[in-house]
């Protein structure tokens, strides 16, 4: 293979363009169109078809690092659950996940004054152990989480009445930034206990999780990155930070593509020059 020494464009130009390209659309919202994908619709339909009064687990398996991508989708799903009178049980396989869930609940609580802690929503907190924790929850839920995050016994919380194992759940939804996360929920909750699992992941980890969205329905849909969060906001008719963030992401992608094209033009120009012996 011919080795061509290219004159590289200073990458600081790329950084500058990217910074401006991300910052401006966040300040001046353009409102670019958003199209819904099949995976986002599957997640939406799962929540939409869950009967009111059902119990679901929302697992917050991320930390502030992935907050810009995962927080908007978690907010949209939690709001959708409250709209449908679905009872939300929050758990976290990541220590910071507890605060992420609390932040969402306190942010949206004013919109849902009828949602009462302990009756319609509970935060059980973080539990170390990853896949083994999920496995134990499936067998003996009350032993794994005898108290909520505030130290209140789950026997005193009406939402936990009759909650023994995964049979008492309609589905599990994991917002996952890595390991432990959605993969472990699929491997145990669906594969072992045969309960529906859905969720959302960061854009970079989506390719590794997408194979679980298959004919066996190991995963029912998947919200992949900010785009899917915006799609979910669109479907549930509650535009939020993902919708406005999509403008910035679209422009950023376009800038990267333009720079890739520039890089290729430089490469071919230099290659031609080398062939000519310049």
């Amino acid at each position: 293979m011919a080795t061509v020494k290219r004159k590289q464009l200073d990458r600081r130009w790329l950084f500058l363009f990217l910074f401006v390209g991300v910052a401006l659309p966040l300040i001046f919202v353009i409102g670019l169109p958003i199209e819904t994908s099949e995976n986002a619709r599957m997640v939406y339909d799962l929540v939409e078809t869950t009967p009111p009064g059902s119990k679901v687990i929302l697992s917050f398996d991320y930390d502030p690092g992935s907050k810009p991508e995962l927080h908007p989708m978690a907010t949209a799903v939690m709001k959708h659950c409250f709209d449908r009178d679905i009872k939300v049980i929050v758990t976290a396989l990541w220590p910071m996940g507890v605060q992420m869930a609390e932040e969402i609940f306190s942010d949206i609580h004013d919109e849902y004054p009828n949602v009462k802690y302990g009756r319609d929503y509970v935060n059980l907190g973080f539990k170390a152990g990853g896949i083994v924790t999920i496995q134990s929850m499936g067998k003996q839920f009350r032993e794994v989480f005898p108290e909520d995050m505030n130290g209140t016994s789950i026997d005193e919380l009406p939402i936990m009445d009759g909650m023994k194992n995964f049979d008492n759940l309609s589905f599990v939804c994991s917002f996952s930034a890595g390991d432990p996360g959605i993969k472990q929920w699929v491997q145990v909750t669906h594969d072992k206990f045969n309960r529906p699992v859905t969720g959302g992941v960061t854009g970079v980890s989506a390719p590794a999780i997408l194979p679980y969205v298959n004919a066996q329905q190991q995963l029912i849909g998947l919200l992949a990155g900010l785009k899917a969060a915006a799609e979910y906001e669109l479907l549930s008719k509650s535009p939020g930070t993902a919708t406005s963030g999509m403008d910035a992401q679209s422009i950023a992608h376009l800038i990267i593509i333009i720079f890739i094209v520039i890089g290729n033009i430089n490469f071919w120009r230099d290659k031609k020059a080398e062939k000519r012996g310049e």
Binding site: F19, L32, E35, T133
Partner: protein
């Protein structure tokens, strides 16, 4: 003996758990349930052990003035402040040893731990993650060059997925008639992710799965002993 006992424990626990997977009845089901509880307790202690180790390692680096030792002071100070704030005044709904620190909450608006978490940690963490975007962009600019057939394929797939995953894809090909909708960029992107990507990922997953089975058997049978430490 020091090495034999852990090897025996590993073998017995490993074999029992494998049996419990296929025979979830007494006594295997009960034993595996009990072992799961033990694991959860150990995992809890592992967090404390991790914190102590972090403290020890950083202290060691400062003591022997290793390269950039000044940064490790910052780590230890930050770590200690967060731990002490949590112990003294607790978190949002949980009181600490000094109660809820009403006077501090009035002044700061939050408990010290929550204040630092919300106003310092969250933003620093998000900044670190956001910086990746700049490096990924730079890496994409340098790496996606049409040199060979393989790199051409990679380049084309990357551009199609990037466009399809944004609003740009919808704008560029949204006008296509129904008969040509299969050329719509979001659809092409969805196709690439659903078929070629899934096929490749499954191959990786099967390979990794077989690898995990192999190394687990090596550990259970005592062939692989590196987890015991030493040579």
């Amino acid at each position: 003996m020091k090495r034999k006992i852990p090897l025996i424990i590993t073998f017995v626990v490993g074999v029992v758990l494998i049996f419990a997977e296929f025979i979830p009845h007494k006594p295997f089901g009960l034993i595996s349930g009990e072992l799961e509880k033990w694991y959860l307790i150990i995992a809890g202690f592992a967090i404390i052990l991790g914190q102590l180790n972090l403290f020890k390692v950083n202290l060691f680096k400062i003591r022997y003035k290793q390269k950039n030792w000044q940064y490790f002071i910052l780590t230890l100070v930050s770590f200690s402040i967060m731990v002490l704030c949590g112990i003294f005044w607790g978190t949002q709904n949980n009181p600490g040893v000094f109660g809820n620190g009403v006077a501090i909450v009035t002044a700061m608006g939050d408990k010290p731990f929550d204040y630092l978490f919300l106003n310092v940690y969250q933003h620093l963490s998000a900044t670190m993650f956001s910086l990746l975007a700049f490096f990924i962009a730079s890496a994409a600019y340098r790496a996606f060059i049409a040199r060979t057939t393989e790199s051409n394929l990679l380049l084309a797939a990357a551009i199609l997925v990037m466009l399809g995953n944004t609003s740009m894809g919808s704008i560029l090909t949204g006008w296509l008639p129904e008969s040509l909708k299969f050329l719509h960029l979001p659809r092409i992107s969805e196709f690439i992710m659903k078929y070629p990507n899934t096929a490749g990922q499954r191959a990786i997953m099967i390979g990794a799965g077989l690898g995990i089975i192999g190394s687990s058997l090596r550990i259970i049978l005592g062939i692989e002993r590196s987890y015991l430490g030493g040579k």
